[in-house]
Amino acid sequence: MAIENLIWGYIYPNEAEIQWSILIVLYPYITGLVAGAFIASSLYHVFGKQEIKPVARFALLTALAFLLVATMPLLTHLGHPERGIEIMFTPHLTSAMSGFGYIYSFYLIIVLLEIWLSFREDIVKNALKFKGWKKLMYSSLALFSYDISEKSLHDDEKFARKLAIIGIPSAAFLHGYVGFIFGGIKANPWWSTPLMPIIFLMSAIVSGIALLILLYLTASWLRKKAINYKTLFSLAHYLWIFLILDVALEMLEIISMKYESLEEIEIIDRLLSDKIATTFYGVQLTLGIFVPFVLLILVMVMKNREKLKTLMVAVSAILVVIGVFAMRWNVVIGGQEISKSLSGTMTYVPVFFSQEGVLPAMIILILPFIILTVLTFILPPWKDMDAEME
C-alpha cells in the first residue's frame, strides 16, 4: 500500500515509519507473563495459599521459560544487537531503559534460586536414583550437595519463602518498570501517565494467572489426570479480582483523559474511534475483560457442574490472554499511530518475513512453550498436582 494511504492529517515527515514493531509489543507481553506467573506462584510460597500449591512450582517453571526469551524481541529489534550489552557496561542512568539489564539479571537469579530451592529435594533424589549422564546432570543441578535431611529441607523452605518475598517486589519492579518505559515519555500523550506502571502490573498479573490456568488445564489433559477443581477455581477467583483492579485503572486513565480534555484529546479520540477501535473496545475491553469478568462471576455463583465451569474458566483464560496482548498492542502500536504533531495518524502494517516481522514474533512466542516442556522433563512439577488428588 502506498504510504499516503496509511496517513491521515498531518504527521511530522520523520514519523512515516513506525519505529517499534510487533516485537516491542511482545516484550511487555512476555515480561508481563513472567511477572504474573511468579506472583501466582507466590500466592502459595509467600501467602501460604494451600489451594495454589499444586501449581506453585509449575508456575515458577513457566516464569523461567518466558523469562529466558524476554530479551529476544529486544535484541532482534536493535539496529546493533552486538552493542546491546553496552546497556550493562555503560548504562546511562537517566534512561528508564538502562536499568533493564540489571533488573532482568537480578530477577533471573531470584527465579533460578527459587526454582532450585523448591526442586532441590527432587533433584537430590534423582541424583541418587539415576546412573550415567542423568546422574551427572542431577548431581550438577544439586551442586553436588546431597543433604536432604528434614532440617535442611526446612531451611530450604524458609529461605525460599524469604526469597519469594523479595521476588514479589522485584517481579512488580520488573514489570512496573516496563510500564515506566512508556509512561515516562512526555512526548507521547497516549503513553505519558504515571498510571502506566501500575496498569502494566495489573494486566501482567491477570495475563500470568490466565496463562497458568491454561497451562495447568493443558498439562492435566496431556497427562490424562483429573483436574483439581479447588486449585482451578481458586486461580479463577484471583483472576477475577485482578481483572477488576486492571479494568478500574484502565478506565480511570481513559476517563481522566476525556474529562480533562487537554489539547491532545482530539487525536486521542481519533485513535480510539478509528485506529485502535476494534482492538481497544472490542478485544481489550469487551473480549479481554468484560466477557471473562461475567463468565468468572457465573463460575463463582454456580454450584456443581464442574465440567461446564472448567470450560468457562478455560474460555475466560483464553480471552484474557488475548485481551492482554491486545492491551500491549494498543499501547505500543497505538501510541505510535498518533503523530506528535497531534494533527494526524499513521498506520502500522506488520510484515511477515523480516527481522521485525510477524514470523520472528511467532517464533519468540512459541519458544517459551518448548522451553517449558523441556524444563518439565528435567524438573517434573507434577508431584504436587497429583498429590493433592489422592
Binding site: 498531518y10 515527515p13 515509519e17 537517566t94 534512561s95 512526548a187
Partner: protein
C-alpha cells in the same frame, strides 16, 4: 606514439595552462567558504553556545534549506527521513469553524502545490522545522547507553559508533526531529552542521535560505545577530509546556504550530 620536440612542447604547455586554470577555478570556489572558514582544530567549544532563530514571517516555502541539508549531510533522498523540513499551514473557513490544513510533502524539498483554491485560504504561512537542540533534551535523557549527548557548545549529537539502535530517543523526541538511519543502524538527527560551525561556517540550511528566515549564531556573543533579534523580538519556542527548553527560537509563531 612518437612526439617531435615541437609537439611535445605544445602538449606540455597545454597541460600546464590547463592545470593552472583548473586550480584557479577550484581555488576561487574554495575561497567562498575559506574566507570565513577556520580550522576546527583551533575550535574551543567552551567559548560558544549556539542558538538558532526561525522567522516564520520570512519563509517562502522554497524548500532549499531541506534540500541543502540532505546534500550536505548525505541524508537519503529516497527515504522519508529529514533533519530539517518546512511545514505549510493553511487556514480556511468550514462553516463557522476554522479548518487548519498542514502539509510538508517530501519535507518541502520539491516546493508546495496549490490544492486549495487561493481565495478560500484565509491565512497561510510556512514554518521551517529542525532539531531544537534542547537545553533539557528528552532524547538524551532516555538514551540507555549515553550514545546521544550534549556538547559543551549546546549541540545534541549522536555517537554512531556507540548507538545500539533501540530508537527510544526517536520515541522521546516531541518534535519528530529524529529518524532511524537504516544504513548505519543507528538513530540520526540534525547536528546544526557541526562539521561546519566548528570551522566558522553556517549550517547548510541557514546558508541556503534565500530570504534570511533562518539565523544561526552564538548566544555567548552579545554582539551576535541572533542575540540582537532575541533582545528585540517577541519570541516563542515549540511545545514550551514540555520543559525541553528549545534553542530554536521562533519569531511570529502561530498558535496552530506544534
Amino acid at each position: 606514439m612518437e612526439l617531435s620536440r615541437r609537439e611535445f612542447t605544445k602538449f606540455g604547455c597545454k597541460i600546464i595552462i590547463g592545470a593552472a586554470a583548473g586550480t584557479t577555478l577550484i581555488e576561487s570556489i574554495a575561497t567562498i567558504d575559506a574566507q570565513e572558514a577556520t580550522s576546527s582544530k583551533n575550535y574551543d567549544w567552551t567559548k560558544h553556545y549556539w542558538g538558532y532563530i526561525v522567522d516564520t514571517s520570512k519563509c517562502i516555502g522554497c524548500g532549499r534549506c531541506a534540500n541543502a541539508c540532505k546534500l550536505e549531510n548525505h541524508v537519503p533522498f529516497d527515504e522519508p527521513v529529514y533533519r530539517t523540513w518546512v511545514e505549510r499551514y493553511r487556514i480556511t473557513n468550514e462553516g463557522r469553524e476554522e479548518k487548519v490544513t498542514i502539509d510538508s510533502p517530501n519535507g518541502g524539498i520539491d516546493g508546495f502545490t496549490d490544492d486549495i483554491p487561493a481565495d478560500e485560504v484565509k491565512k497561510a504561512f510556512y514554518v521551517p522545522k529542525i532539531c531544537n537542540h534542547c537545553e533539557n533534551p528528552p532524547c538524551v535523557q532516555v538514551c540507555p547507553v549515553g550514545a546521544t549527548y550534549e556538547t559543551e557548545d549546546g549541540v545534541v549529537l549522536v555517537d554512531y559508533n556507540y548507538c545500539i539502535g533501540c530508537r527510544y530517543c526517536i520515541q522521546g523526541c516531541p518534535y519528530g526531529a529524529r529518524y532511524f538511519n537504516t544504513e548505519k543502524g543507528t538513530a540520526d538527527k540534525c547536528t546544526w552542521c557541526y562539521h561546519r560551525i566548528t570551522k566558522g561556517l553556517l549550517p547548510a540550511c541557514v546558508q541556503a535560505c534565500p530570504v534570511g528566515a533562518r539565523k544561526f549564531g552564538d548566544l555567548k556573543d552579545p554582539e551576535s545577530e541572533i542575540n540582537k533579534i532575541l533582545d528585540k523580538e517577541r519570541i516563542n519556542v515549540l511545545k514550551p509546556d514540555l520543559g525541553t527548553k528549545p534553542k530554536v527560537y521562533y519569531v511570529g509563531l502561530d498558535r496552530e504550530v506544534r
